[in-house]
Symmetry: C2
Subunit: 302 residues, 2 copies
């Protein structure tokens, strides 16, 4: 099945207790695409500026990521993010953001992509998420992400978007902020009231929570000993999830639980090194090995 991923492509500078990486490839759609491409071919939709390094573009060529929807806009600059993680690295501190091309008009979905069955709308303005969705024929499953900025400043637009997607993936702080509920189970159930059929709350090193009608499924993070840079973990999680769902062409709750497991395993590679350094080198047999390891560490029957 076809999977379309939209979101940001960026140039990141990140510092963690384990080192620093300057001017490296980043962005929500990038992490998500590389992650999903471990399961299915990916159609990427996004915009970069004319400063987007050719070397970054080359990194995609070894993966099944179709760049027909990647616009390089003349006269514009690529999105840039500078951030820092301290201590247990549970939360990024943003030191600087240059929206650049992301502050201009959004990307267009090429005609060859409009028949996509599975769609991930990574974090961007919720009205733009709906606009992108409107360019698609009849996807089987649409999942979006969001962020604190839209929850605070574009709440009405976000709630409209939540009304037209099948699922939403967001982190624990965002779930609490969106609902005013401290308890994450309550928060997840409140989010379902806005329309989605399921919600996944990402809790960083504490794993994730899937909630659907009458169903709650909680999974710890992969028991990783080496975490160098958590950047992109959440997007890799979403990519692994959506990639898996597209690969099995299912949207039922059983498949969603299995998808959360795949998302967790996929993200465990991302955090082992800076940028895409580890994720893009991940091979399918490594993914299978860690899947077995995660099941052994969380399932009584494994």
């Amino acid at each position: 099945m076809s999977l379309l991923v939209t979101g940001s492509l960026g140039i990141d500078t990140v510092e963690t207790p384990h080192g620093r990486a300057a001017e490296v490839l980043g962005g929500t759609a990038v992490y998500c695409s590389f992650a999903a491409s471990l399961f299915v071919p990916v159609r990427l939709v996004g915009v970069v500026g004319e400063d987007f390094p050719p070397a970054f573009r080359d990194l995609f060529s070894s993966h099944e990521i179709d760049l027909a929807g990647l616009e390089t806009r003349a006269g514009s600059k690529t999105f840039r993010w500078t951030g820092k993680y301290e201590g247990a690295m549970n939360e990024a501190q943003t030191l600087g953001v240059d929206l650049n091309v992301l502050a201009e008009r959004g990307p267009s979905i090429p005609a060859s992509f409009t028949d996509s069955d599975y769609v991930f709308l990574a974090n961007t303005h919720p009205a733009l998420q709906r606009d992108l969705l409107g360019q698609l024929d009849q996807p089987k499953l649409v999942v979006c992400d969001t962020m604190n900025l839209w929850i605070e400043n574009e709440r009405d637009e976000l709630i409209k978007t939540l009304g037209v997607v099948h699922g939403v993936v967001l982190n624990d702080c965002e779930a609490r902020m969106l609902t005013g509920e401290t308890n994450l189970i309550k928060a997840a159930k409140r989010i379902l009231d806005f329309g989605p059929r399921f919600v996944v709350v990402k809790k960083g090193e504490h794993g994730s929570l899937l909630a659907g009608e009458d169903v709650v499924f909680v999974l710890p993070a992969f028991p990783a000993e080496e975490v160098r840079d958590p950047t992109g973990a959440g997007d890799s999680f979403a990519g692994g999830m959506l990639g898996y769902l597209a690969s099995v062409d299912r949207q039922d709750i059983g498949a969603l639980k299995q998808a959360v497991v795949r998302g967790t395993v996929t993200a465990s590679f991302t955090i082992e090194d800076f940028s895409l350094n580890r994720l893009r080198k991940t091979e399918k047999h490594e993914l299978a090995g860690r899947l077995a390891e995660l099941l052994g560490a969380t399932q009584l029957s494994a």
Copy 2:
């Protein structure tokens, strides 16, 4: 099989965002005993002052908790703790502690209890934990708890104790403090180097982590929507764990995983109300119901 529990009995005053409870029954050995008594009869060893309310003592009578090892010391006062939880209630702020009788000599283990097979040494001075252990014949399984005070001020004594127990249960902050490792998997493995065969790291609302030689098992907390007071959750967890192990008379890693599941379920009752209000009313069929619910929320095969 016989289970002996030692630790504190206290008079607590607790405030949370959901209310306040003044001068209520508390203490590590109390939560642990009530929890374990859902699985096996419990032998309680501890000391209270002559001010320990008869009404508190009466609460034990409806449970299979043998008070032959409970000393009421004339001229002494019962341990008192005053604390507060805010926000997501992940950490207690201690507003006041009166050690009282706990600052005097420790309890003695009655002759009728020295043949105990399973032993939980709740948090107290690590030298006293070893002293209590020395009064026992040949227990099959000894598990201890500890706290930041001993990690900071009595590290050598604590390491001696860790060298003579089979297992240790402690929280995430304590595990990090004891080892200097931020990563909890690494911290748990470092603790195994001190001698215990297994370690359980309690992560509050984020569940727990069991580590033994070549084994890591991570389990989320029970997906509870109603949390009124987390006091005693960790001790109830340990009580449910030890009670289960004693009830099946096993100490292997498979049983330890199952014990972590029982500990998690048992603690979920404690946190629903202040003091022992909910835990002491818990019935076995309720425990079985939540066990099924926890397995459904965490196990793919459930």
